[in-house]
């Protein structure tokens, strides 16, 4: 229990606390939301593009569905898919970047040129080809979005690794004959994590954006599923009449991004300081 408390100490800084609270609120929203939604998210329950009021707290969308219900339902898919895709991208990107940055063999140029090739393909085009070839499944979608992120994560991790490899503590580990995987995991990974986490929030937003675009192009999730990203693209035509159908999911996505960024920053900051001595950390 104390170990968990120690791991959660990032949550005790000011912005960390805000970030954790906001993330928990959002999680509560997407988990409990569907239970309390007043209407079926797919059912047409009123006149299209009604403004808030008249029985619909956030109005209705272009087809006359309840915006509030769709917002309450629509967080699951986008959050789950983007979190899984981003997490997967980090796993693969970290592995490739660490190995490429640490090894002084041919493996480094081989891996990095492969990353360059991936980087050269426009993300949407890549997903388009992937979806056409492998079908419209959620798995393909997640793998595709993850693949789009991998090259840039790998590049950043590789650069961060190269600046850590020359440090004394890595040399000391080499001198005592540690195995490569334990040097990577114990000595290098914790020290590149701060750099890597710095843009985790932005990448998550990136995933949401890509998913939204893919959904918009009709290659991802299919209507009438409720999904924040889908809602934005569906309702942007009626934005002058009923701005809430776009604004509500957009604000929630923004809220999600900020929350995740705050948590990621707080974790990055808390690495390498013990709580009792925090005041000394100049």
């Amino acid at each position: 229990m104390t170990a968990i408390a120690a791991r959660m100490r990032f949550a005790r800084t000011g912005s960390g606390r805000v970030g954790v609270t906001a993330t928990l609120l959002l999680l509560a929203l997407i988990l409990i939301g569907p239970l309390v939604a007043p209407h079926d998210p797919a059912a047409i329950v009123g006149i299209p593009l009604q403004r808030p009021g008249s029985g619909f707290l956030l109005g209705t969308d272009g087809l006359g569905r309840d915006v509030l219900s769709r917002v309450l339902w629509g967080g699951r898919s986008i959050i789950a898919l983007s979190v899984v895709a981003t997490g997967l991208a980090y796993l693969v990107g970290l592995a490739i970047g660490l190995v490429a940055g640490y090894t002084r063999s041919l493996l480094d140029p081989v891996l990095m040129r492969a990353m360059d090739v991936l980087l050269a393909v426009p993300p949407l085009l890549f997903l388009l080809v992937l979806a056409t070839g492998a079908g419209h499944s959620v798995v393909v979608l997640v793998l595709g979005v993850a693949t789009v992120h991998v090259p840039s994560i790998a590049r950043i991790v590789r650069a961060a690794t190269q600046s850590v490899v020359v440090r004394g503590y890595v040399e000391a580990a080499v001198a005592r004959g540690e195995r490569t995987h334990s040097i990577l995991a114990r000595e290098i990974l914790p020290n590149v994590l701060g750099t890597v986490l710095a843009d985790a929030g932005i990448r998550l937003t990136g995933s949401i954006l890509i998913l939204a675009s893919v959904n918009f192009l009709g290659l991802g999730l299919q209507p009438p599923r409720a999904d924040w990203a889908l809602m934005i693209s569906e309702n942007r035509g009626g934005i002058t009449l009923q701005p809430w159908a776009v604004a509500a999911p957009a604000l929630l996505i923004a809220f999600l991004t900020v929350a995740v960024n705050l948590v990621a920053d707080a974790i990055a900051r808390s690495l390498g300081t013990s709580l009792d001595r925090r005041r000394i950390a100049r």
Partner: protein
């Protein structure tokens, strides 16, 4: 005629803590003041305040500063900019980061002149100034970029920029730290000449008493933000009256006098931890109860000496405890390096770092490997530790040849040879607690369980004289000296026979260095540990080594017992090194 006068200067943090208190001094044209102190003493903060500059968060709370009749304190930034560079100028510590890497050196110096004296014949004056600091004054040289110059030349450019407007006062902040000894000696000589020629008043800030001794007329010693002692240089160095000055002088290693170093007990305090009475009281051997009650005043002692100690009469006289270095009986060598050749690949070119280097280290012996930067000494250390693959030659442990890579060596060999690195700020993993850093080698190389290792960590921390509570801290929460001790404890964790120490004290303060060297000497005797000491500092060599090898561009040019070698060097290069090494003995 005083060109610089400081009266009752006090600098405070915005939060109210005093950083520097009660600094008063006067400086005449052609005079040099040495401002000496360890890190955190407030010497650089004071020096910068002379130019009217305070770091963000610091402000002048009281006192006045006058330069050449002009008030510096209380002036607006615009006014100050007219003074800086023209009347009073600054030479920073690290020229590599002080010079703009993308501007030609001539233009950087000209820029200062154009800012202050736009009507002058810029080209001619800049060329003259370059000649003055003994740089080539050709326009080809002035069109070079900083990276095309050596470290010494870069520092001369920084000095040229400081002198181009012919100021009255120059503040130099450790201008020779980081330069090789020979380069340092040349630069110090040059500064002395300039001072004479231009009648410059110089405020020379340094942690190195020996360097200051070679230049300054007067020395001002600072500790924890206050001046503890000041006075004419030679008598101050010969007969210190403040216990801190005494401690500092006993801690400075001197190549001309191989003696046992004595460290100052305790550690320097941070700005927020300073006591209410005398700031040195917690570490002072001659403290009385009155010391902790009020800040002692600066008392005038004979011949212009001032000391901030009410018990100054009890400060003992300096007595050098000369080391007895006896030739050892020839035991079978623990480590033997045989015909070692090491190379570096640099952009396709092959650089030879060391060639046909052979030497032996006996059990319990301390061998020093001395040389300037680029002499290949670190590469040799890395070959021994298995971090660099030699191009030729062998490293033998107890007569058995070792594999070139640590990973292919036996566990036994890895356990018996340990290395401690130069920079305490990057030798510990910032994400691991002290206890984990020290326990890891025990678990990997001695197969101890987590519990056994943790128990031994406490004993090791005590061995390197660190409190046990440090075990749960992260490196960022430790000072440089503490980190280096942890690094030594980590090396000792495997119970090694040989400790390779690569410049382990070069990043530390003098008194901390003395404490670390004291520790090494103690370990050598108590554990029978053999030491291979890699260093550029002949003073360090004189105070701990038994035998010395001098490296010149990767070749051993001279070797022998420490005392005869340092007092009667035979090789031309060793002679130059010994002559250039700053020493205090000569000034007494």
């Amino acid at each position: 005629m005083n060109v610089l006068s400081v009266d009752g200067l006090r600098l405070e943090l915005v939060s109210g803590e005093t950083v520097v208190d009660d600094v008063s001094f006067e400086l005449a044209a052609g005079e040099a003041l040495g401002l000496v102190g360890e890190s955190g003493s407030g010497k650089t903060t004071t020096a910068l305040a002379l130019l009217g500059y305070c770091r963000p968060g610091v402000r002048v709370a009281a006192g006045t500063i006058e330069v050449a009749g002009e008030r510096v304190t209380g002036r607006s930034e615009t006014d100050l900019r007219r003074l800086r560079g023209r009347v009073i100028s600054y030479v920073p510590q690290d020229p590599a980061s002080a010079l703009n890497p993308s501007v030609r050196v001539g233009e950087q110096v000209a820029g200062v002149l154009e800012r202050h004296i736009p009507s002058s014949d810029v080209d001619r004056v800049v060329a003259e100034t370059f000649a003055l600091v003994q740089l080539p004054s050709s326009s080809e040289f002035r069109r070079r970029f900083p990276h095309q110059l050596s470290g010494g030349q870069q520092q001369r450019v920084a000095i040229a920029a400081a002198l181009v407007c012919r100021p009255k006062v120059v503040v130099m902040d450790e201008p020779t730290t980081g330069l090789d000894v020979v380069t340092q000696a040349n630069l110090l000589e040059q500064i002395a000449v300039l001072r004479e020629e231009l009648q410059l008043a110089i405020v020379y800030v340094s942690h190195d008493l020996a360097v200051v001794a070679s230049l300054a007329d007067r020395i001002m010693v600072m500790y924890a933000g206050s001046v503890v002692e000041d006075g004419p240089a030679a008598p101050l160095l010969a007969r210190p009256t403040h216990p801190y000055t005494f401690g500092l002088l006993a801690a400075v290693p001197d190549p001309a006098e191989p003696r046992t170093l004595r460290s100052i007990p305790g550690v320097a305090l941070g700005v927020d931890e300073r006591p209410s009475g005398c700031c040195f009281a917690p570490r002072c051997p001659q403290r009385i109860s009155a010391c902790t009650e009020a800040v002692p005043p600066l008392l005038s002692v004979d011949d212009g000496r001032r000391v901030r100690c009410i018990e100054w009469r009890r400060t003992p006289a300096l007595v050098a405890e000369l080391r007895q270095v006896a030739a050892r009986e020839r035991a079978a060598p623990l480590l033997a390096v045989d015909g070692l050749r090491a190379e570096h690949d640099e952009r396709g070119r092959r650089l030879v770092a060391a060639s046909s280097v052979s030497f032996e280290v006996a059990p319990g012996e301390c061998v020093a490997l001395v040389g300037e930067s680029g002499s290949g000494k670190t590469t040799i250390a890395r070959c021994i530790a298995g971090l660099h693959e030699p191009a030729a030659g062998r490293v033998l442990l107890d007569g058995t040849p070792l594999a070139s890579r640590a990973a292919s060596r036996s566990r036994d060999a890895r356990q018996r040879i340990q290395i401690v690195f130069q920079n305490p700020y990057d030798s510990l993993n910032p994400r691991h607690r002290v206890v984990d850093s020290i326990a890891r080698p025990m678990r990997v190389l001695r197969g101890l369980s987590r519990r056994e290792a943790a128990a031994e960590v406490a004993a090791l921390l005590e061995r390197v004289r660190l409190p046990a509570k440090l075990a749960q801290r992260f490196p960022s929460e430790l000072s440089g000296g503490e980190r280096q001790r942890v690094a030594i404890a980590r090396a000792l964790a495997t119970k090694p026979d040989l400790l390779v120490c690569d410049e382990i004290t070069s990043a530390l303060d003098v008194s901390v260095q003395a404490a670390v060297l004291e520790l090494l000497a103690e370990l050598q005797i108590e554990l029978g540990l053999a030491l291979l000491l890699i260093t550029h500092d002949l003073g360090v060599v004189a105070s701990v080594a038994d035998r010395v090898l001098v490296l010149e561009r990767g070749v051993v040019c001279e070797h022998g017992l420490v005392v005869p070698l340092l007092s009667h060097p035979e090789h031309e290069y060793t002679r130059r090194l010994v002559a250039a090494a700053p020493t205090l003995v000569a000034r007494r």
